[in-house]
Chain length 200, copies 2
């Protein structure tokens, strides 16, 4: 039925609005400083009770948000791996994605890099065990096996490579670095890559 699907879509829309509002508030003030009332007010649903028609409870909003973000990243990385064969190119594109997200969707990156997710989602798997980051480790592992990367294992390659990238982005997100993320990208990439690249 048309009416049915339209209603479904409307409901989906409200759900997304709640998630968007929650993402904004969580990353601005933190999970525990954000009440359901505020989330409701900032989204289409004007009252806290209405939120419960869409989510079981507050934690599930955060959980859905987390799943959405991690999934989105995972899909993007799949895409990058499909388009690029060599791991250095894959890495370069992941870095580009990270920096673009920081400028275009800072809340998403704040959620990942600034918030301490395990504090309000204790049962969720840590970020490093999510599909997206497992795939990143695979990219690094591929580079090691192909002889492009010198690190001993992918975990440590991650630490030094993404340490630089993510610390830079974190400083941008918290305002310590004042320019847009993109401004720092080439520099950060160069240093990060040189740190793990096998110098032939």
């Amino acid at each position: 039925m048309d009416k049915e699907t339209q209603k479904e879509q409307e409901k989906e829309k409200v759900r997304d609005e709640i998630l968007a509002a929650a993402l904004k508030l969580f990353t601005e003030k933190g999970y525990f400083n954000t009440s359901l009332g505020e989330i409701a007010e900032a989204s289409g649903v004007k009252t806290a009770a209405g939120v419960y028609k869409h989510f079981k409870n507050k934690q599930e909003i955060a959980s859905a948000l987390y799943a959405w973000i991690v999934d989105r990243l995972s899909v993007s990385i799949d895409d990058i791996r499909r388009r690029n064969r060599k791991s250095p190119e894959q890495l370069r594109e992941i870095v580009d994605l990270w920096f673009r997200l920081t400028d275009d969707a800072p809340e998403v990156m704040r959620f990942i890099l600034v918030l301490n997710v395990s504090e309000f989602l204790p049962d969720e798997k840590p970020l490093m065990e999510s599909p997206a980051f497992i795939k990143i480790l695979r990219v690094l592992h591929g580079g090691i096996k192909a002889g492009d990367i010198k690190a001993v294992d992918s975990q440590r390659a991650y630490c030094s490579f993404f340490g630089i990238i993510e610390n830079t982005l974190k400083q941008v997100l918290t305002g310590t670095l004042t320019k847009k993320a993109d401004y720092y990208q080439n520099d950060a990439w160069s240093i990060a890559w040189d740190g793990i690249a096998k110098d032939s």
Copy 2:
């Protein structure tokens, strides 16, 4: 009076016990997941009300903790700068301190690296503006001026250098890297230093 000073000391001791208990709980479960009751129970004062004889409120416990940690770091860095003239040596010692603290006082490092302090101490200055970290930036700045470090400015030198160091330590603290921090120190130092060292 002897009795007076003894009482003072006793009070100081209780205060420290409260702080120690709070540090442990905050870094384990997060600030908002920790109640004053738990802090009291875990310290000498067995009841929540007793805590208020030593601290104005919950936030002030966190505030005192933060000040204590930042101060301790600042003193250590002063000491390092006194003992070493050249910035590469100073940096090497700061890295050593960071790694040793991670193994010997993980709660302290968790407080700094894992917790999102501004979430529960919104009025406090961010870590990067604390004396300890300003001094670190000065060390980096000294290195740049002396021609040892190639980075354009100390902020960005911080991002890449401490990005590697702190990301490695964070992975150790969250259990993603399974060995003791010390195990990774030399590797992390080498890569981090090479990233900012001027290759003559």
